[in-house]
C-alpha cells in the first residue's frame, strides 16, 4: 500500500519535473542575455557573468581551464567550504566509528597475482593522480579527482594488505597541514594583496605548468587533503584488525 502510494507520488513528480524542465527551461544563449549590476557601486555591465568569466580568465588568472579558474579563483571561497565539508564528514565518520574500529572479521588473503599486480600498478596510479591535480589549471580535473585517484591507490594498498591499515597518524598530519596551508594561502592574500584568496603571485606564461599564480598551489593542497581524507575514510571504514 505504502509502496503504491510512493510509486504514484514519484511518477507524479517525474511528470511535473519533466514538464517543467522541458517547457519552462532557461534561455540557453547565455552569451547574449543577462546584464548584471555591481551591488556595491551600482555600476551596470552589458554582458553576462559567464561571458565575463570566459573572456577574462586568461588575463585575470592565467589559467587555461575556465572551470578551474572559477573553482579556485573567482569562487575560491566556495571551494574552501567544499574542502571543509569533506573534512567535516571525515571527522564525523571517525568520531562515529571510534568504537567500531577494532574488528575480528575473518579474512582471506589475496593471491599472489593480485599482490604483484598491485605492486606494479600502484606507482602508476599515484602518478596519474599527481598529474591530474598538478595540471588542474591546464587540463580537466584538479584537486578533487586527483585526490580521489590517489585515494583509490591507498584503497588498493589496504585491499592487498589485509592486516595492516594505513598510517593513520601520518594521514591525519598531512590532512591538517594541507588544510592549514590552504587557509594560509588565502590569508596571505589578505596580507599581500587586498582580499582573502586573492592572487599575489605572478601569473606566468599562459598554458605553462608553472603559471596561473596560486591556482596550482591551492590545487596541490586540495589534492593532498582530499587524498588523505578519503584514505582516512577508507581506513576507518575498514577498521583495524586485532591480533
Amino acid at each position: 500500500m505504502k509502496k503504491a502510494l510512493a510509486a504514484v507520488i514519484s511518477i507524479a513528480i517525474f511528470i511535473v519535473l519533466s514538464y517543467f524542465f522541458l517547457t519552462g527551461s532557461a534561455p540557453i544563449d547565455y552569451l547574449k542575455g543577462g546584464n548584471y549590476t555591481d551591488p556595491i557601486t551600482g555600476e551596470q555591465y552589458n554582458h553576462s557573468v559567464p561571458q565575463q568569466y570566459v573572456e577574462d580568465t586568461k588575463n585575470d588568472t592565467g589559467a587555461s581551464n575556465v572551470v578551474t579558474a572559477i573553482v579556485v579563483e573567482y569562487r575560491g571561497f566556495d571551494t574552501l567550504g567544499e574542502v571543509t565539508v569533506l573534512f567535516t564528514a571525515a571527522t564525523g565518520l571517525a568520531l562515529l566509528l571510534d568504537e567500531l574500529k577494532r574488528r575480528t572479521l575473518p579474512v582471506v588473503d589475496p593471491n599472489f597475482i593480485l599482490k604483484s599486480a598491485v605492486k606494479v600498478v600502484l606507482p602508476f596510479i599515484i602518478l596519474v593522480g599527481a598529474y591530474i591535480f598538478i595540471h588542474g589549471h591546464l587540463t580537466p580535473g584538479g584537486g578533487f579527482p586527483g585526490g580521489a585517484v590517489i585515494a583509490a591507490g591507498f584503497l588498493l594498498m589496504i585491499l592487498v594488505h589485509t592486516t595492516r591499515g594505513l598510517p593513520e597518524r601520518k594521514l591525519s598530519i598531512t590532512e591538517s597541514l594541507a588544510g592549514i596551508s590552504y587557509v594560509l594561502i588565502g590569508l596571505l592574500g589578505l596580507v599581500f594583496a587586498n582580499e582573502f584568496l586573492q592572487n599575489y603571485l605572478p601569473l606566468g606564461n599562459f598554458t605553462m605548468l608553472f603559471s596561473a599564480g596560486i591556482i596550482p598551489l591551492i590545487y596541490i593542497a586540495i589534492g593532498f587533503k582530499v587524498g588523505s581524507e578519503l584514505g582516512g575514510i577508507m581506513h576507518n571504514l575498514k577498521g583495524v584488525h586485532e591480533e
Partner: protein
C-alpha cells in the same frame, strides 16, 4: 563534420556507436538479470570497457585532446571498483 546534410563519416560513426550501444544493452541485460553478484560484476566490467571506448570516441568526435584524461581515470577507477567487489566476494575485505 559538415553542417547541414549527412556526411559519410556521420553514418560511419553512427553505425559504430550503434554497435557499442547494442553491446552495452546486451551487458546491461546481464547486469540486471545475472543470478549472482559475480555475474553482475562481470557485466559491469564489460560495460565499463565498452563505455570507455564510447568515451574515447566522444573525445574524438568533440575533437578535444584533453577529454582523453577522463578515459584514463575511468579505467583506473573501474579497475579499483572491480578489485574491491572481488575482494569482498572472496571474503578478504
Amino acid at each position: 563534420m559538415v553542417e547541414g546534410g549527412v556526411f559519410m563519416m556521420d553514418i560511419l560513426f553512427f553505425t559504430l556507436i550503434s554497435l557499442l550501444a547494442i553491446a552495452t544493452f546486451l551487458a546491461l541485460y546481464r547486469l540486471i538479470r545475472g543470478p549472482s553478484a559475480a555475474d553482475r560484476m562481470v557485466a559491469l566490467d564489460a560495460i565499463t570497457n565498452v563505455t570507455a571506448g564510447l568515451l574515447i570516441l566522444i573525445a574524438f568526435l568533440s575533437g578535444r585532446f584533453i577529454y582523453v584524461d577522463v578515459t584514463l581515470v575511468f579505467a583506473i577507477l573501474s579497475f579499483v571498483g572491480l578489485i574491491v567487489v572481488a575482494r569482498y566476494l572472496e571474503g578478504g575485505l
